[in-house]
Symmetry: C2
Subunit: 516 residues, 2 copies
């Protein structure tokens, strides 16, 4: 069979499929997706820009088109690690191929379908996904489609450039399609730590990980060969994450964060030099903050995060970061090239884990993680909206921000103080959607400054957030709101004027600016 498949495409590399049973299953993507039926729940690999199966989405989209052309029906429930490669997300959304999407997306076509009510979207903490699927909340997983770097002589799987929920998908799915991507450098083997010790309660036991570089699992994924229905060879580079060079705003934010770290060290709340394990969300601001660490007097830093961005490679290369743990790479074209060209250097300093471990509440609490995440907006009392523009339209999703914020040691949210050329303030009287509550948000940072909300009552927080973080153009409006709210006879512990609480958002809708 392998001979015939070799004829089908150039991707087939026998050195990547080293077990005869799996060689016998080699086929192309078009044949593989015939395993997928209308209404199936399909769980695929992919976390951020890394590890999305390359052949699956084009083949499924094509199959959906042809089934529909013949008068049939075909759409699926799609489960992933987090976001997947944009082109894959877009292809399936464009053909209305996804009935339900879980747990995260960040792609315009899918976003549009969700906001118009055409696609069901369940926006879930990334640490909860594996346990919820295992519990059966999403029904049976019919098919798993997982990209791997290779299949070993004894039928184990060398993981690709992300781990995400792949361990769980392989465990729970009725059928498995493997994509074996020859582009992935051989050098990736050994970078992963796949932990097979999780369970559903009452069988759970302590997870014995106490440092970012601890290894508690094995380098390879397991799969029951009897469940594998197709092996699809591919040879395609991972997508690149879009990254821009740090600008003045993100550098100013980074400066405030670094000053805060020095303040924490001086106060004895973080060890000098090594600090505590850092987590940074995806994006330009987080990338800039990490890049800024190179200028600090830090050494032996560790990161325990979801993704590894370009700046992390630089910090490892320079020796500022001793170890980075994540569940996926999220590198630009240049970053990907840097990694692939220097795998020997990076492999000893990077560990990729299942996202149930990278984001696990037990580990996040134990390690004392410093969580740094982006946001859409915060209100004056420290409630954060990460997901819903105007309270109604989803942007991406909560992702792992809640995992790190809720159980971390220091929970920080970073954002430019304005958007849309100054028309939109990131600091508002009341957020119309809350993803992180005032009980959890400890520090807010914009380019103007940093508000440390720890141990402060709501009335003390509010003035601090305005004076430190809001753009000066919005400060008079925010103080006026607070003055009026506090002057009411029933002002209460958290003064608000409900009829004016969304005045910034109403102004934006009516005039195109929160300045009204």
């Amino acid at each position: 069979m392998s001979t015939s498949v070799q004829q089908r495409g150039t991707a087939y590399d026998p050195s990547r499929i080293r077990h005869p049973h799996f060689r016998g299953l080699v086929t192309d993507a078009a044949s593989a997706v015939e395993q997928i039926a209308d209404g199936d729940t399909v769980a695929i690999s992919g976390f951020a820009s890394a590890g999305t199966p390359k052949a699956f989405a084009p083949a499924l989209a094509e199959r959906i088109r042809s089934v529909r052309a013949a008068g049939g029906r075909l759409s699926v429930n799609l489960l992933t690690g987090a976001s997947v490669a944009s082109e894959a997300e877009a292809m399936l959304a464009e053909v209305d191929g996804i009935a339900l999407r879980m747990p995260y997306q960040s792609e315009p076509t899918a976003r549009g379908k969700i906001n118009s009510g055409e696609m069901d979207y369940v926006d879930v903490h990334l640490s909860h996904v594996a346990q919820q699927v295992w519990q059966g909340h999403y029904g049976d997983v019919d098919v798993a489609v997982v990209e791997v770097a290779a299949i070993t002589e004894d039928g184990k799987l060398v993981p690709a450039m992300s781990v995400g929920n792949n361990k769980t998908w392989l465990d729970v799915a009725d059928k498995v399609i493997l994509e074996v991507n020859s582009w992935i450098p051989d050098g990736v083997e050994g970078m992963h730590d796949i932990y097979y010790g999780t369970a559903l309660p009452p069988q759970r036991r302590p997870i014995m990980l106490s440092r970012a570089d601890d290894r508690i699992g094995q380098p390879l994924l397991e799969v029951d060969p009897a469940k594998v229905v197709a092996v699809v060879p591919t040879d395609q580079r991972d997508s690149a994450s879009a990254l821009t060079k740090p600008d003045a705003v993100s550098e100013a934010i980074a400066g405030h964060v670094l000053e805060f770290f020095q303040h924490e060290v001086a106060g004895g709340r973080m060890p000098a030099g090594s600090l505590l394990p850092l987590q940074a969300g995806i994006g330009n601001v987080a990338n800039a903050v990490l890049a800024g660490l190179a200028a600090g007097s830090f050494s032996d830093l560790t990161c325990y995060s979801e993704v590894i961005q370009d700046s992390m490679l630089q910090l490892i290369r320079e020796g500022t970061v001793a170890h980075a743990s994540a569940t996926a790479l999220a590198l630009s074209e240049d970053g990907l090239t840097e990694l692939v060209d220097n795998f020997e250097l990076y492999r000893d300093h990077i560990t990729l884990r299942p996202q149930e471990i990278s984001n696990h509440p037990e580990i996040v609490r134990r390690l004392g993680i410093v969580g740094m995440n982006g946001m859409l907006e915060a209100d004056v009392y420290g409630n954060v909206n990460s997901t819903h523009v105007g309270g109604t339209r989803i942007m991406n999703g909560i992702g792992g921000s809640g995992d790190f914020t809720r159980n971390g040691y220091v929970s920080m949210f970073l954002s430019p103080s304005t958007a849309k050329n100054g028309a939109v303030s990131a600091i508002v009287p009341m957020v119309p959607h809350v993803d992180h509550t005032e009980h959890d948000v400890q520090v807010i940072v914009t380019e103007h400054g940093l508000a440390d909300l720890r141990a402060l009552s709501p009335r003390k927080r509010s003035r601090l957030v305005v004076d430190r973080c809001a753009d000066p153009a919005f400060r008079p409006l925010l103080h006026d709101y607070l003055d009026r709210a506090e002057a009411r006879p029933d002002a209460g512990n958290t003064p608000h004027i409900l009829e004016d609480a969304f005045s910034f958002h109403a102004g934006l809708a009516a005039t195109g600016s929160m300045l009204g």
Copy 2:
């Protein structure tokens, strides 16, 4: 010195103070509180109705009055486990003796001072308190005042009827005042499990507790004798928690919860018979739910919770509950008598732990806790307001509800569907304060029914919450809101009409009813 003290009061019982150093420190409360200076941070024992120092609050209130009468100033920052005995809270609030209060209160006088802005209040997850104080967010703790049952021959402390943060208070305070309460039955000794293994990062290690009845610590508290400045004998019963008999509404809620448990067992998500460890918040509804378990086909149930209420004693006596772990007792007069009269029976089935362990995210996640907490109101998408009436006026505080909701296995919120004789709906279009987000709230229950929100997108959740949980009188208003919100061109993933989102609350303010 002990002789002279014996003359001061009848409370002194030498068998309770079995170490000569501590006998030498015996004094009365009036003398003890002279150790407290204006601006001090004072951390006291007490969690719910159990373990509040009995002599401290009256003595401090009296001292505040006399200091002020002499033209002086005296107020303190007061840290506790959670709520303390109402009479103690009220006494100190009445004399404006508290500048800052943390982490929880549930008493009318204190509530009034907080809502008028006269008292600063920091409303903190109970699992975070010890680590935040240890980190120094509240400055130095000048004085700890801790009730104990006895001081042993080797200078260790037999804990009282609650543990709370006492271990941390004794560790971090500069000076310690011990109240030795002879009323506490000798039989309490051995009921506690005080874990000394927590640390600040990066020194944290796994906490090796995997079952509700595991013991990982020691029965006694430690104190540095050099820090103890006074030992005050008392002989006074703990306060009683107010409990009413289950009424029809709370019994209906309990019925829906029991049916849900059967549904989970049938779905293979919980073990038959023993279920998973249960947590129930304080109050009549939680008490009724637990009482209802006696009627189910359950055995060997375990509870891993904050408090133990009356119904738990009944379940233990009947053999339905094998073990209950908590940080405090919250018993009625009758419950307290039942416990004290039968300590031999209950001691083997109850473990009292520090609240950093009873509410610890690591343990809550590992055990797979079923969290059941009360609420003020929920919105149609599953966001819950636990703390702020009308979004501004604090009721009590978040307490431990977030600890169990965020990291638990099933997160449930229970409430009667209406309050104020039907004028107030517990289901509203949008809550004006969010303590638990849509990402965390899984199940909402009122007397009308149960809405299981797991794996549902916002638009599917909203109709279910209205139809299952809202009072029929409010359903047309809620559906009308959703109809109008969903009909908007920019309805989005979570349809809302910001200018109408608080119409229920505006109606209540204007007319005295959310029916408008």
